[in-house]
Amino acid sequence: MRRARRFNINGILVNAAALVLVLSYALPYVYLLMTSIKPAADVQQIPPSFLPAVVSLENFREVLQSSALPKAFASSLAVAVLTTVLSLAVAVPAAYVATQYRRRITTLFLLFALVTRMVPSVSLGVPLFQLLKSLGLLDTIPGLVLAHTSAAVPLALLLMSAFFEGVPKELEEAARMDGCTRFQAFRKIILPVMIGGIAVTALFTFITSWNEFLYALLLTSEATKTAPIVIAEYNSVYGLAWGAMTAAAVLYSLPVIVVTLALQKQIVGGLTFGAVKG
């Protein structure tokens, strides 16, 4: 029980520091939450209050009754799911080959993925617009999926490479000795072993697309507008509808939060995957 006393001294400090950190990045979200449950009339009161005087679901009722938001949610979901599937289909095999068959070219390949992540998306918006326009894919789901995939693949590639680094080469070799082709070894042994890492990468890719604003703004209009655009428009189309906007934003953030919490164990396991113990 000597640990208990130490916990009292150091533990409190550590917990306090953690609390300050958590508050500093959770505060904007908590404020969003508080605003969304205020009656619409109280939202713009001056000076603004942090806690709602009266709890009301009026804002939520309003956004759910409008037709724009459910449609935008459907677009967002379709784009995010397709982007995730496409990105993983490209990045998982590519990352495996790049890490397991180390050559100078594969190192350059990963470095290049990192570099593309550093180009600001603003500077890619216009070329993407031109590309999609010439393909006739402006304001379509496949068009936005391609744009999001171009941004998500490098991220997925880097994440999956980090996970694959921890997979010993002998695992594939053992499978090949046991009668697998290289592809069978990948499918039957490597993929199942990496399932935690793949889940983490899928989640990050999904969130990248789900939250993406700039490409969605540039590349879609009425037909396939995603939810972040619709949420932003509450402040222009309907005047200054802060209440509705915060309610829509809360609703939009819920799926991501729920999935992240549900996958908590896999994510922590995936992020600290390290070497595969055999």
Binding site: P168, E170, L171, E173, A174, R176, M177, D178, G179, G278
Partner: protein, 380 residues
């Protein structure tokens, strides 16, 4: 079951490192062959080429008479046990052992029977539903063995399979693997850097150094008739003592000591006859030097004692022999002895030799080894 033939096998890695040079030897059907040599000598490379995991730069590899240079690992009918075991972490012990049989497309009942049989052989029955992460090192090692034997392959390849176990378990598993191999009678190649493992387990042993084959022979012959200075020093612990000496007629001069070489040596090594001031490298195993006070001999030398390690059953006596010490090129030997240039003699525990004494040492001169100083090969 199959014989394995290597003919002028070369391996040049992508970075143009020449890892194996003209490797040629045969492994007989059912034989337990050990590859031994210091770390980095190319044992794993050779094994992985036989497995098909590493391409063959030039030369021919035959398994059961079939040229397999370009055959996929899965089509070579060979099982391998890896140093890290390489168990599939997401599969249970049962699923790990069953996997090669599933890949071979065997029926379910046959798979179940074979897995149970392998588990019984290796005493894994109670662990069949565990995942590898829950097993101890020794148990993982057994699972890796199980995955190999369940297939009844043409050959087993094992790359330092015991090096991750503690010393006691290693000795136990060494005996178990050797007896299992004898029972199954499957051609086996076993890689190790430990010459004791090589000597105790192998029917024959391939000794390698720097990518070059040194000698292929039975443990007895490697010990008694080493082909060169490297094999002489590498096999046996403590290592053979190697010094430059001069042979004149029957008289050998070793530093400031001289003694007569018995006639039998000249029958055994006829080309030593009629030597006049001939430079040679001589090798004396520790057990062929004794305390002259206990076992007198016609061939005696005297040398200062630098250290006595009393082991109970024997005493390792370090001697400072005033002749030119010969470096055999075995990095492990130097590590074993500590002060590298000392000779080591295996004295009877009754010896009263102490550090600082000048010991009278009886040399069993019939057991001397002779090597050419320039080629470093045995003189016969």
């Amino acid at each position: 079951m199959s014989a394995i033939e290597l003919r002028n096998i070369n391996k040049v890695y992508g970075n143009s490192f020449h890892a194996l040079r003209d490797l040629s030897f045969d492994i007989r059907d059912g034989e337990f062959m050990v590859f031994v040599g210091p770390s980095g000598c190319g044992k794993s490379t050779a094994l992985r080429m036989i497995a098909g995991l590493e391409s063959i730069t030039s030369g021919e590899l035959r398994i059961g008479g079939r040229l397999v240079n370009d055959v996929d690992p899965k089509d070579r009918d060979i099982a391998m046990v890896f140093q890290s075991y390489a168990l599939y972490p997401h599969k249970t012990v049962r699923e790990n052992i069953a996997f090669p049989l599933q890949m071979a497309g065997l029926p379910k009942t046959e798979i179940a029977n074979r897995v149970d049989e392998a588990a019984r052989t290796l005493e894994l029955t109670t662990l069949l539903d565990h995942r590898p992460a829950l097993l101890s090192g020794g148990q993982r090692q057994r699972v890796a063995m199980g995955r190999a034997i369940v297939r009844k392959p043409a050959a087993f390849l094992m790359d330092e399979p015991l090096s991750n176990l503690d010393a006691k378990l290693r000795v136990q598993m060494r005996a178990e693997i050797a007896s299992l191999q004898r029972k199954l009678n499957v051609t086996t190649i076993y890689v190790t850097h430990d010459q004791v493992e090589a000597m105790t387990m192998g029917d024959r042993v391939v000794v390698m150094k720097g990518g070059v084959l040194q000698q292929v022979d039975t443990p007895q012959n490697l010990y008694n008739r080493p082909d060169n200075v490297f094999v002489a020093a590498f096999i046996g612990s403590p290592s053979m003592n190697l010094y430059e000496a001069v042979l004149n007629g029957r008289t050998l001069t070793l530093g400031s000591n001289s003694f007569e070489i018995p006639d039998r040596v000249f029958e055994y090594r006829p080309s030593l006859n009629g030597a006049s001031n001939r430079q040679v490298i001589i090798g004396i195993r520790p057990e062929h030097m004794n305390d002259a006070a206990i076992r007198p001999s016609s061939a005696e030398i005297s040398a200062p004692v630098t250290l006595v390690e009393a082991l109970g059953s024997e005493s390792m006596v370090h001697l400072n022999i005033d002749a030119s010490w010969v470096d055999a090129g075995d990095p492990d030997a130097v590590a074993d002895i500590g002060d590298e240039k000392a000779a080591v003699a295996r004295f009877s525990p009754k010896s009263t030799a102490r550090a600082g004494d000048i010991a009278r040492v009886a040399v069993d001169a019939e057991e001397l080894h002779f090597f050419e100083p320039d080629t470093r090969t045995s003189i016969w």
